[in-house]
């Protein structure tokens, strides 16, 4: 009988396996076990002995003035160190008007209630509303005009580890355990509040429980307030938000309204028009931009205007591909509306409108994988369960950022990869180990990663999908420099020329002969050797190349026309990211992006009460995020086409999902649902509206 071994993963019919294209196919996350067993310590887990606990006092209404505050009663609660009121007006639910510091979390809670604040609520605006759009004349050459308004709600980041900082204050020095996306930027301002030079403290964030852009704000008000208290009492201090505060005051993806008036021809060609967008930025001064049009499609000449709308809500922060998912939702659905109106297949229309040949190849693959030919024309189904198919596209540019790296070979044969920049859950730690192991020629299990510590070589803050792309170039250079020094020293010991030696799976080889094992060679060093590298124009040229990331997603779903409930069957996500470092973490980034996108499409919605301006769902019961039972089969496909350079991957996969789902729902039920989330009642209304 033929010898048959089980494949490590059951092969999926009809799709490439993502096998053999990454630097590592099999590597597991180096910190996976630590994370699932809880031995990984996040900033929030660090509760230094003798610490002071701090929390903000916050406004419970959309807009209110505190008429009376019983500071005395709160200060008198046992264990309370101080109560400080810094203002009396709250302009949104969750705005801090002061803080309390106490010996325990329980004392904080008791003091908060003892404050007994009497509020005078004032009128609050809670949404963008329906601003008037003055559109220009219809575009030239149009046979028809589509006018439509697309809206998306406020989405909160909902990081599982909430925002905050734990400070171990040790008199003349300190360690800042910050939950941050920027180990180095989290130092900013900390010197001032601590009254210590930056040389006397460091930021440590070995693990970050999610940030998605909301932890790019340096030390943040949480960190700076904790720092001030730590300095004042000369003691450790701990300030982390609770779940409600996390929803209320740590940023969000702003709501959006997109009003299009677009001309198209009988053949589906779009000949331009005007796009007016509004972003709901709460009390912030800006940050509500909507990326629509995306520039991925040829839509003719578009006149675009954008305005931010202020209301009584917490301000936005960067959120995984800021401005993109909300814009892509409007753009993809608009294209499908044009396709349907002109009797075109949306796939065929995208093949025509898309500006990139490479993405056209992706559409072909995606159509095959999802089974696009089973798609029925929009609005032709009358069964209870109606099948729908949809498409979305994505792209992301590579942004340069400063990054340094160091790699050390220790005499005990371990290799240390040193980078100060953080792993926010993406797998950066694992990716850097793989890059170095490969470049040095040593097995992955001798490599250890020191990461997330501002005393290590500097790296970028994780925003704009820059971390792996830039740090890996510095790592490659560091590994090459190290290898050179290392082999020179070994060659001197062996009495051969350095150029004659190679490292292969750790063995020191001359031609095909093993001269030394890895252990022998490292022991022979006597002391550690290190190599440094940095991302520069030179390393960029040597190790990378131009090119941005792109992708397409295909959705297959069913709509229950009796309840309006959407059941996602499958999502195929094809994504390029240049040279893939680690197959599993790359797939995981794509899957995670899709999950965040489908949750945005179907569930998430920060609801502010129209009367009081208070958020009615500041928890994870009513602020719904997709759960495991809601997951379709998500099939990430790492694009094998153009693999030059290490390109961004964090943000692009979350851009197209909501748009693709909205298109699939439109296909199933026959009328578009132009407002996210695609709630069952909205879907039913669309079905009813379509009938009449």
């Amino acid at each position: 009988m033929a010898d048959r071994t089980m494949p490590s993963r059951s092969p999926l019919p009809n799709r490439p396996m993502n096998d053999g294209i990454a630097m590592s196919d099999d590597a597991n996350r180096l910190d996976g076990v630590a994370k699932v067993t809880g031995s990984a310590k996040y900033g929030r887990d660090v509760m230094p002995k003798n610490g002071v606990f701090v929390s903000f006092i916050r406004c419970p209404w959309g807009h209110a003035q505190a008429r009376s505050i019983d500071e005395e009663a709160a200060s008198a609660v046992a264990g309370v160190l101080e109560v400080e009121i810094t203002g009396r007006e709250g302009r949104y639910h969750g705005e801090p008007i002061g803080h309390i510091a106490a010996e325990s979390l329980a004392a904080l809670r008791r003091a908060r209630s003892a404050l007994n604040i009497e509020w005078d609520p004032e009128d609050a605006d809670t949404e963008i509303g329906s601003p008037e759009a003055s559109h220009d004349d219809d575009p030239d050459g149009a046979d028809h005009v589509l006018e439509a308004v697309y809206t998306t709600p406020v989405q909160t980041h909902s990081s599982l580890e909430t925002h905050g900082t734990s400070i171990d204050h040790m008199g003349d020095r300190a360690i800042i355990y910050a939950s941050t996306q920027g180990t180095f930027s989290a130092r900013e301002g900390m010197d001032r509040v601590l009254g210590m030079p930056q040389s006397r403290f460091k930021v440590v964030c070995e693990f970050v429980g999610g940030g998605f852009g909301s932890k790019l704000n340096g030390a943040g008000k949480e960190g700076l307030t904790a720092g001030r208290i730590a300095a004042k009492y000369g003691r450790p201090a701990w300030l982390f938000c609770d779940r409600a505060e996390e929803h209320l005051d740590t940023g969000n993806r702003p709501s959006s309204r997109t009003h299009v008036r677009i001309g198209y021809r009988d053949d589906g060609t779009i000949v331009g028009g005007s796009v007016r967008t509004w972003g709901g930025v709460g009390v912030a001064g800006g940050g509500g931009g909507v990326v629509m049009p995306s520039n991925r499609y040829d839509l003719g000449r578009i006149r675009k205007q954008h305005a931010d709308v202020r209301f009584n809500g917490g301000g936005p922060r960067a959120f995984r591909a800021p401005g993109h998912p909300q814009g892509a939702f409007a753009e993809e659905l608009m294209i499908d509306e044009v396709a349907t109106a002109t009797g075109r297949d949306p796939l065929e229309l995208r093949m025509k409108l898309d500006r990139e040949d490479e993405r056209r190849s992706m559409y072909e693959l995606g159509a095959r994988l999802i089974g696009w030919k089973r798609r029925q024309p929009t609005g032709t189904q009358a069964s209870v369960l109606r099948r729908g198919f949809g498409i979305g596209s994505t792209s992301w540019n590579r942004f340069p950022a400063r990054a340094d790296a160091e790699v050390v070979i220790h005499p005990d044969a371990s290799v240390e990869v040193r980078t100060g920049s953080q792993d926010i859950g993406t797998g950066q730690r694992t990716a850097m180990a793989i890059v170095v192991a490969r470049q040095l020629g040593v097995p992955l299990d001798v490599v250890h990663v020191s990461i997330g510590d501002s005393s290590l070589p500097a790296g970028p803050a994780s925003g704009g999908s820059v971390t792996a792309t830039n740090t890996s170039l510095a790592m490659l250079e560091a590994a090459d420099n190290l290898k050179e020094t290392f082999l020179e020293r070994i060659a001197a010991q062996l009495g051969v020329v350095a150029g004659a030696l190679k490292i292969r799976e750790g063995d020191i080889m001359q031609d095909d002969r093993r001269m030394m094992t890895w252990q022998e060679a490292c022991a022979a060093l006597g002391s550690a050797v290190s190599g440094r590298g940095s991302r520069s124009r030179r390393s960029d040229r040597q190790y990378s190349g131009s090119g941005h990331s792109m992708g397409v997603q295909f959705v297959d779903l069913e709509v229950d026309s009796e309840t309006g409930v959407i059941h996602l069957n499958r999502i195929v996500a094809i994504q390029s990211c240049g040279r893939v470092i680690c197959r599993k973490t790359a797939e995981s980034q794509i899957i995670g992006g899709v999950i965040q996108g489908l949750s945005f499409a179907l569930f998430e919605d920060k609801l502010l009460d129209r009367n009081t301006g208070a958020m009615v769902n500041p928890n994870l019961e009513f602020y719904r995020i997709a759960g495991p039972a809601d997951m379709p089969k998500i099939e990430p496909v790492l694009w094998e086409g153009n693999q030059t350079g290490i390109r961004p991957l964090g943000e692009p996969p979350t851009i197209p999902t909501a748009g693709a789902i909205a298109c699939a729902v439109f296909n199933a039920v026959g009328s578009p649902v132009r407002d996210l989330p695609l709630r069952p009642d909205r879907v039913l209304d669309a079905i009813e509206g379509g009938r009449s």
Binding site: R109, E562, R624, P680
Partner: protein, 277 residues
Amino acid sequence: MNADAGTIAMPDTIDEALDAMAANPDLIPVAGATDLFVHWPEHLEAHERSYLDLSHLHELRGITFTEETITLGAGTSYWDVIRDPRFRDELPILVNAARTVGAVQIQTRGTWAGNIANASPAADGVPALMACDATVHLASAARGETTVPLADFYLGYKQMRREPDELITRITLPRRAYDFQYFEKVGARNAQTIAKVGVSMTHAAESGWRIAAASVAPVTLRCRNLEAQLDDEGRPASPDDFESALQADGVAPIDDIRSTAAYRSKVIACIIWHALA
């Protein structure tokens, strides 16, 4: 403030528990605590109350099947029903309902009696039990045992026929040969979700139709008018034909954070009609 404020009593027997309730009617019984303690950290006033822990009372555990009756002790959890093959064979409606409650952690702690006494109109266990003609058995030290049909147990939103000194001791169901059982919950997600609308239905030759609806009124509703319509006329031509019966039954949903009134009215009729297809 009460002398034993902030305490928790741990009786060893039902009698001890009933005596404690008689002595202090403010005592709050605790079973799985999955309703009671959800907001514990923030509800400081709850810390000042006193509690009676029922979770370790063996007398409240246990499920028995006799020729006529099925009895669930008040300590019976969802998980106890899910893993009992007798329910899978005879009353899959209860298993299906149990499986939609929260997720496994909640199913193993939460009790059917707690679901009844919590009196939420969006509960999942209550409509399923109501469609099986459940009877609630209550006991007090002063008056002994009384029984109330679950369908008559609720008087208004969170109002029920339970005196402050009474405990639910068990739930009984008549044993019947059902030829139809149906449980449906429309939630926002597929798990960890509270019903936007829920329906439980049974049919047996001897009893006819039983229909209970969740999240469409201040209480879980037994839909007697609709039952009569189905018994007399069978399935109508359209879900719209349920409108007057449902209205007479008290279906009067509201707009709230989980859904809209219009959605609930439409969907309740649709899913019942669809279930009968």
